[in-house]
Amino acid sequence: CGFHLRGMGPGVGLFPYPSVFVAGDGPVAAQLRNELQQISTVHLLPAASSDAALIAVDSESSERKILSLNGNGKVSEYRIYYTVSYRVNKPGNAALIPSSSMRLFRDYTYDENNELGKEAEAQMLINDLRQDAARQILRRVSAQAKKNTAVTEDAPAKAPASMGPRLDAY
């Protein structure tokens, strides 16, 4: 049904650029650095440089809203929204992804009898939201880069499509 291992078809690996700088001092920026640092083919720079890619996390904020009440009029569920606005530049400072934002959320039941435990759970969900946001940003970078290379790639002769998992490049 058309599924193939990701990265096998025409396209790019986990991160399309050899070197990258992540701008932003919030937790999602830290999570992005953390993820990128684990990819062996990517060099995470300590400072911006024009011939490296740039991921700028411009703002991130979390907001807690009441989702539902119980029979006593007390909160029974909270919804935590996590909003991240970010932009990505290709090496050479051309914009790959214009400034855009995403809004993710998680729900959790609240119990006023267990304030500390529920506060810890909320923190766990916020960390999960941050990882999800970082993963989606990286995902979008490779998707966008793949679309661009696919466009430029058609012009020259197509590279021979490799059959099995190639061990070298990726």
């Binding site: 599924f3 009440l69 029979g71 029974s76 855009s100 959790y108 810890a120």
Partner: protein, 706 residues
């Protein structure tokens, strides 16, 4: 300051006479221009020595877009001083207009009108007028001032005030804010007349005199300060309540400060005089969510590669007779350290540790220390696959205080933890009616092994059983906090599919089905009296959600118990917002994991009814309690130069002084009349509507006067 160089005056007329070198007189369609000021009249006299212009019989003056007409003008052009008899004044862009007996030019960009009438309604519509003996419009400080003014709405005088001010543009000026009137069954009439005081660019204060028919007068004040390195606010309210015959007050203090480039401080104190304070005086959100009022002082230090936190925190817990609340432990102090050293390239090492001195009025308390180093090393990290083992140790040490019954003891717990996260990612590109998308198929397996350690003798300071969710089934410990670490020999299997927008690469939609399989009993429980679970598999978890098409969002989560064929939790919601002022939301949720069980459905929306009328509504019905938890209905009318909001809200509350058998509801009526950019009368339900109706947009934003 030195006046700018004057510019020449151009005069055009049918005929002109110069009586002297400096005095000219013109007749017949006279047009006089200087910079941006232009005067048209039948005749005009100008003395260039004194820069004094007289013009008559029918004068029209335009200045930076403002148009003033009158029947005789006496004006010193450069000094911007003078008078215009029975003026008719139209503000630039025709947003506001006024007429009066006399208009005084009072310096650049400042007008004063005697016995004036002011409105933002277009010519030909006399919906409302602000009458004033003196109306001053000061665009330099952008404040409008009306002295013994009264407001006439469709001919009916509805407000008198000896002194009233209103902003001419954006920022607020010292003066009375919109008085708010609401009515509810707790306090009867509830009249607030807030007064805003713009002390300095970075200090301001608001005073809240509030008259409650059934309880008396409450005085409140809020002071805010904003400095480059610190900011904060303090609010206090106090009333001698003659319904409950006691003094009641509330205090809320918030302060944050950047002490050093890497060290920041955050302080918060909330205190109320009695448990029912918010039920009687707060709005629905306050009454529902303010149960444990925090009092804390927190220091955060951000080192490079590590961070530290020191916090002193305790709570004031508002008890309710119907179901007493378990007071949270105070943490005096809590010291937390977290670092992720980059010792091994490609490995993710994290060292976290914490020391807390817990105290509690009744329960056992004492000190707890733990340290939890972990290392995650990705064996495979490919775009199509990942295998990531994670090993760690969780070592904790308790030193409990003596209590009356039992002598405090020390205990420790050291547990190795191991987990292996692995998954494959399959992908295909496809199009669906012309829209290109990428779909992935992601099988994932997550194995966790943590040996069993009896923790029934350990206190439970800050642990809770987390909700069964994707986040939980892919984490090592299903208990939050650090007092319970579940023994585990389990594997979580899940299959996720995601749909990515072909053009932007954004994730549009995802669906997951997952389940956890236990290879041994789960013996660690939150409380000693609970029996260990012998389940061999967890409930089945199915979730899907995202943007189905442009403005339609759907989310569904199901936690299904296969053995007993019972739904433990189901949560289905749709949100449709096809345009501004159009939103429709539907949600059903049943959750049997919590007690009391939640089962309710919620329908809310905002929809334009006719050209200017908008309807808003929300109905939240609890099937378990078979009664509505919140019912809200509202109408909003936008008449262009004024707007009306009407809303009624009935919500459940846990008010102790209503007799037990009677339904405990709070019913509040809002009525808000906003006279275009001038002043709003009545209580503003917008914040309530925004909380209750997702996707609500305020369609009645009236623009500023200039």
């Amino acid at each position: 300051e030195e006046t700018p160089p004057e510019s020449p005056i151009h005069l055009e007329a049918d005929e002109a006479v110069a009586h002297s070198r400096t005095e000219a007189e013109a007749h017949g369609n006279v047009v006089i221009q200087r910079d941006t000021t232009e005067v048209r009249s039948e005749w005009a006299q100008y003395n260039s020595e004194t820069d004094h212009l007289k013009a008559g019989d029918a004068v029209t003056m335009t200045r930076e877009g403002d148009v003033l007409t009158g029947n005789s003008l006496d004006y010193y052009i450069n000094a911007n001083r003078g008078t215009l008899e029975n003026p008719d004044y139209h503000v630039a862009q025709g947003v506001a207009r006024a007429d009066a007996v006399k208009l005084l030019f009072d310096g650049p960009d400042r007008y004063k009108m005697r016995t004036a009438r002011f409105t933002t309604c277009p010519v030909g519509r006399d919906d409302w007028y602000l009458h004033a003996s003196t109306l001053s419009l000061d665009y330099a400080n952008n404040v409008g001032m009306a002295y013994n003014g009264w407001i006439q709405f469709y001919g009916v005088p509805i407000l008198y005030s000896p002194w009233m001010n209103f902003p001419l543009s954006g920022n607020r000026q010292t003066g009375f804010l919109a008085p708010s009137v609401s009515f509810d069954n707790r306090n009867g009439i509830d009249l607030q007349t807030p007064f805003y005081w713009n002390i300095a660019p970075n200090y301001d204060a608001t005073f809240y005199p509030r008259y409650l028919a059934d309880r008396g007068t409450m005085l409140g004040a809020e002071f805010r300060y904003l400095q480059p390195s610190y900011s904060g606010q303090i609010r206090a309210d106090r009333i001698s309540d003659h319904k409950d015959e006691q003094d009641r007050y509330s205090i809320a203090f918030l302060h944050q400060q950047q002490l050093l480039p890497r060290l920041s401080m955050y302080a918060q104190v909330q205190k109320v005089s009695d448990d029912d304070y918010f039920n009687d005086f707060g709005d629905q959100v306050a009454a529902a969510s303010q149960t444990n009022l925090p009092r804390e002082l927190t220091f955060n230090y951000a080192g490079n590669g590590w961070s530290g936190l020191a916090r002193w925190q305790r709570y004031q817990t508002l008890q309710s007779e119907s179901d007493p609340v378990d007071i949270p432990y105070a943490r005096l102090p809590q010291l937390y350290y977290a670092s992720s050293p980059q010792w091994i390239k490609g490995a993710n090492i994290s060292i976290t540790s914490e020391y807390v001195d817990f105290s509690h009025p009744t329960k056992v308390d004492g000190q707890r220390m733990w340290i939890n180093p972990t290392i995650t090393y990705p064996l495979v990290q490919r775009p199509y696959a990942f295998v990531k083992p994670k090993i760690g140790v969780h070592a904790s040490y308790y030193s409990l205080n003596d209590s009356e019954t039992v002598e405090g003891e020390n205990s420790s717990r050291v547990l190795p933890t191991f987990s292996l996260d692995s998954g494959l990612i399959f992908e295909r590109d496809d199009t669906f009616n012309g829209q290109a998308y990428t779909q992935t198929l992601e099988p994932r397996a997550y194995y966790v092994y943590i040996p069993y350690k009896d923790q029934s003798n350990l206190p439970n300071f800050d642990s809770a059983l987390t909700d069964f969710s994707l986040a939980q089934i892919f984490s090592e410990n299903r208990f939050s906090g650090n007092d319970r670490i579940n023994d585990a020999n389990q594997i979580t299997l899940a299959l996720t599919t995601r749909f990515f927008d072909g053009d932007t690469g954004e994730e549009r939609f995802n669906a997951t089905v997952g389940q956890r399989f236990y290879f041994q009993d789960q013996r660690v429980t939150l409380d000693a009296y609970e029996k260990p679970s012998t389940a061999q598999e967890s409930d089945l978890l199915i979730t899907f959600g995202g943007r189905l098409w442009r403005n339609f969002v759907a989310n569904y989560a199901l936690q299904y118990n296969l053995k007993e064929q019972v739904t433990a939790r189901a949560d289905a919601g749709i949100g449709w917002s096809p345009g501004e002022g159009r939103a429709f939301n539907l949600r059903y949720v049943v959750n049997r994991n919590v007690s009391p069980i939640i089962e309710q459905f919620d329908i809310s929306g905002q929809w334009p009814l006719t050209r200017n009328w908008y309807g808003v509504a929300r109905y939240n019905y609890s099937l378990k309690d078979s009664r509505s938890l919140e019912a809200l209905a509202g109408l909003e009318y936008n008449a262009g130069c004024w707007a009306l909001r009407l809303a009624a809200q009935r919500y459940i509350n846990d008010d102790s002084d209503t007799d037990p058998d009677q339904e405990k509801y709070t019913v509040t009526y809002f009525a808000m009349l906003e006279l275009g950019g001038l002043v709003g009368l009545g209580s503003n339900p917008v914040s309530t509507l925004r909380q209750s109706i997702p996707g609500y947009t305020d369609m009645l934003t009236t623009n500023s006067i200039r």
